[in-house]
Symmetry: C2
Subunit: 80 residues, 2 copies
């Protein structure tokens, strides 16, 4: 049921054709990455366009999801 | 109650001293960014290390938060 990429990272989802969310074990640390990839010689490789969060940063990020939602709603109501 | 950065973007939270989550209006489109900043001449400026999600990408990402959580738990239970 799980899909892994060419680097052996677990693909959680694809946000666009080239952007994906992965969960990786990097030297014993779990990282959550949101990153762009490019295709080279049949392989999909990560670009520097993206960010990898440590478990601690992810936990802090996740707590702020409702605040992000609220800010988006506020911004969009101002734009319309 | 809201904090804005030197670029006028709404700061949702700081994940580390140099990493922050912002919500921005970019030419009428709302973007959610997770990005590293650096300090230059007293100003904090964005680096290319990060990613900016459109509202559509954010929505797709948000739906996958439980899957990310599940993958982290799975990975950490395998490591311990």
């Amino acid at each position: 049921e799980y899909e892994y990429d060419d680097e052996g990272d677990l693909i959680i989802c694809r946000l666009t054709k080239n952007r994906r969310v992965t969960v990786t074990d990097f030297r014993g640390k779990t990282l959550v990455s949101i990153r762009e990839y490019y295709r080279k010689e049949g392989k999909e490789l990560p670009t520097s366009k993206g960010i990898s969060l440590t478990a601690e940063q992810w936990s802090s990020f996740k707590k702020n999801v409702p605040a992000i939602e609220k800010a988006i709603r506020k911004m969009e109501s101002r734009l319309n």
